[in-house]
Subunit: 226 residues, 2 copies
DNA sequence: ACCGCTTTGTGCACGTGTTCACAATCGCGT
DNA sequence: ACGCGATTGTGAACACGTGCACAAAGCGGT
């Protein structure tokens, strides 16, 4: 999973907490699965188990969006999907640019999650001119020199950085300079951005290291049991 | 960033908390950068800024591993790198298998973070026989039928799942059945695993949706300011 | 040897997130 | 119309993470 890079900007009154927001997409996915299976209503018990959380936490999370369940019955699947989508802002449409068309950028471009649910990949951007013009998953690769004009033209609000670590900050600065206010960073660096920009970081190496820690803990425990 | 899928298994006495463990790899990376720049000692102030956290939090995190700083001076970069590495269990070696050689599996195989720091990719595994034998980033692709024997032979403890969503749970079950105790899941599903297995999840779509939420919040605020 | 400057390590207070337990509420059968 | 079983929504207790503020402790200059 990924972690926010910046400390919480003061939580507004009545706002949904950050941890809750992070869980809503999971509920949404599970609910979509139920909907496709033809399930019409779910209890917090069932939904919570499918999402891997406790029922109480689930109900409290959902209660922050409003009272969309009916007591004694549960939640209407379709209606809850709509409400969560709305709370997450998925009823609007967002244009995304992916900068860096290496292996990772390639994978991201092909990722199904991008096309659906309100996200449209406006362009793939790379510094290597030999890749420019190539079409990946229906999207054209364009040169990084055009970054500013692409962002302006498509009203891009979300930038995905999949460049090598060395270029990430520069790319980020350029994105921010032309109005991008959310950044998803795959490069292994800590980006510095102005206050109002949100950065989320996905870092392979960090995930592995966290797993390594738990592995080690397990072996120590096992030793201790001998 | 990514998130643990399961609730905290009871925190052991004297253990390092989960949030701290998640930050240690960041400190480690920043420290490595300092070391390469020839910096010998850093203060909590400097290190914290580079890592994007507050100085107090940083010191408290580090204090959980022991007293490795010297007052009035700061932390010895090399020594601290060693201590964090040891705390994370990176002084040991871990064998990893990557299951699913699509775009994402390809990207992961090529990712530099895997080769270094105690992680060795034992094999790439795919269900498509036409890919078997291919060599990616110096690692051979082998068929999923051999999964169990590969895991046993290389004493694999960490499995990376980069398969389509539909196959993820099955692959996970097989990995767990032959002794893998840590799983890094890129497939957009909630895996169910036995108690002692750690699962971490990296989910593109979830990250985007979280960013979408913040984007929406910003535009609402902007509207309100008109 | 001492003093003052710097920086760590940490006790304490605060805020946030989680869990429990239960009252409020709904549908349904009679 | 009414009562019963089921399930939500939530107040209150609790656990955990964060940030402040300061005492403890090292270094260097005199």
């Amino acid at each position: 999973m990924s972690v926010t890079q910046l400390p919480h900007r003061g939580t507004r009154r009545g706002a949904i907490s950050e941890v809750t927001v992070a869980r809503l997409p999971v509920y949404l996915r599970v609910l979509t699965g139920f909907a496709e299976s033809g399930v019409a209503t779910v209890s917090s018990e069932t939904l919570a188990q499918a999402a891997g959380v406790g029922p109480a936490k689930l109900r409290k999370d959902l209660s922050h969006l409003g009272s969309y369940g009916t007591r004694g019955v549960g939640y209407d699947v379709d209606y809850l999907i709509y409400q969560i989508s709305r709370a997450l802002g998925l009823t609007q449409h967002y244009s995304v640019v992916i900068v860096g068309v290496g292996n990772l950028g390639h994978a991201l471009a092909g990722y199904a999650g991008f096309g659906t649910r309100g996200f449209r990949v406006a362009a793939l951007i790379d510094a290597d001119r030999s890749r420019v013009g190539e079409v990946i998953a229906g999207v054209e690769v364009r040169h990084v020199d055009e970054l500013e004009s692409i962002v302006a033209e498509h009203e891009v609000s979300i930038g995905v950085i999949a460049t090598p670590a060395g270029n990430a900050q520069e790319v980020c600065d350029r994105l921010v300079a032309c109005g991008v206010t959310s950044v998803l960073n795959f490069a292994p660096v800590v980006l510095s951005v102005p206050e109002q920009v949100d950065v989320r970081k996905v870092d392979l190496s960090i995930e592995l290291q966290i797993l390594a820690f738990h592995e080690q803990r397990k072996s120590v425990v096992t030793e201790g049991a001998l």
